[in-house]
């Protein structure tokens, strides 16, 4: 492989399973009892249920790819995003990442509602791994994109959720990450914001970066992405060009 064709983000037979600790098995008492007495109580006490959230998922994304993750609720879209973001280390399989990742899952993360918009921009910037000087250099650009104007001096408590979204989106995309991961909350913006966000994403992907978007909204997937993955029960049902995957998905769920 030459360096040019090396994938920016590659998953190789990634499996993720969650232990579900049902009330009791999380307590030390049951654990000790089940260790101490071989046999019946062990089975009763240690009722560990394991949910296979992802099963042998393999995919590779190259520069310029915009991938949509589609599938029903509980298909593993969010888990897959979190594996890509390095939040869940897979039980088996490998995740290879080249470049900086910017996850946008929760607009409220790290937001201190008593602090001003500017202060919160700094906190989020630090959370995404920017240095104080990098944030200061990008502050005008971020402020411009949010279109919040004087509101940035006000405590974030006074913001609407749409305003919060603008602030978060501006910070998440300000430093041109190689990989941008988005969950479907992005759809909460108004039409004006969506158009601006789209323009920013286009500019961002044009710089040969990667976008992964999890969404139920097939129209948005079509508009924003060129590739698709259809997840079902933690396994890849279809992968390929976005139109083909959407067609298959619609045919199956119709």
């Amino acid at each position: 492989m030459t360096p040019m064709t090396q994938p920016v983000l590659a998953l190789d037979r990634v499996t993720v399973s969650f232990p579900v600790y049902l009330g009791g098995s999380r307590s030390l008492k049951k654990r000790l009892l089940s260790q101490g007495s071989a046999g019946r109580i062990a089975r009763d006490a240690n009722d560990r249920v394991i949910v296979d959230a992802l099963h042998e998922v393999s995919l590779a994304l190259e520069s310029g790819d915009r991938l949509a993750l589609i599938g029903a609720n509980g298909a593993g879209k969010t888990t897959l995003l979190r594996v890509m973001a390095g939040i869940y280390e897979p039980v088996s399989g490998t995740v290879t990442v080249r470049g900086r990742i910017s996850p946008m899952f929760d607009i409220g993360l790290g937001i201190d509602t008593d602090l001003s918009g500017y202060d919160n921009i700094r906190i989020r910037g630090l959370l995404l791994g920017l240095s104080a000087t990098e944030i200061d250099a990008r502050l005008p650009d971020i402020a411009e994109f949010t279109e919040l104007g004087d509101y940035l001096e006000m405590p974030v408590r006074t913001y609407s959720s749409g305003m919060m979204l603008r602030l978060t989106f501006a910070v998440a995309t300000c430093f041109e990450p190689e990989i941008l991961l988005m969950d479907e909350w992005i759809l909460a913006g108004d039409a004006h914001f969506m158009a601006r966000a789209r323009a920013r994403i286009d500019a961002f992907v044009a710089k040969a970066n990667v976008l992964v978007l999890a969404s139920h909204n097939l129209d948005v997937c079509r508009k924003w992405c060129n590739k698709g993955v259809w997840l079902q029960r933690g396994e890849i049902r279809a992968i390929g060009e976005i139109e083909d995957v959407i067609d298959e998905y619609s045919a199956a769920s119709a």
């Binding site: 999380r26 307590s27 979190r82 869940y88 290879t96 008593d114 700094r122 630090l126 791994g129 240095s131």
Partner: protein, 279 residues
Amino acid sequence: MNSVEATSASAGSGSARHAQLARAIADVGEGAALWPLWGMLGWNDILQRYRRSLLGPLWLTASMAIMVVSLGVIYAQIFKIEIDDFMPFLCVGLLVWNFISSILGEAGTLFTGSESYIKQIRLPYSVYVFRFMWSKVIIFAHNFVIYFGILLYFRIWPGATAVLALPAFALLVFNGACVSLYLGLVSARFRDIPQIVQSITQIVLFVTPIMWKPQLLTRYNFLMTFNPFYHLIEVVRAPLLGELPSWHNYVAVVLITAFNAALAGLIFARFRARISYWV
């Protein structure tokens, strides 16, 4: 700029263990490098609690001062000791104990309390430990003002010996980081640990020479010799009162530190990757 990062998991063979340990060490290094982040988050943790109050974080100092003075006056009476002698002893002991007990009391929620961060963004897990310890050190610094007040009031001067308290406090902080790391991790899996720790902490306050002087314990001396908290407190307290800790104290603290560091290293290396699944 372009960093390549690969995460994988495989069965517990020897090389996998090494990889786990290497990742744990890398985690601590990366976490330390993020000091602007945890420095600010740690400060915010304190400011948030006292925002819009007049004294702000100085409320910590005020309530601690009231406690030191009232306990000092009463216990000096009960034990029939000179207040000049007892009050400084009690003050330093309580300051250090307050630091230790707040770490033990809150370590259980170190990771579970940061669930929203852990599930949304990949940060080195050590960042949460640094943030936690940093805010505890800030609180200690606020409380420490009382010590100077006591020095002034009773006109005592510990002399150059007091400098010995600095490395001792550094060791205490290091121990606190190790303990909060493994307590926080184990508590994320077993939710009764914080309760157990809390009830033990309550007893420790009374069996450790904090509100009574070590000389008063004439029998059952082993209760003190084998109490790790006594040694941890004594190496900080004695220099601040102008006395030299005994070599027993130092040996004990070194042993305790080695134990805590080894346990924290083992547990962190083994279970670090599971934290996001457990919280």
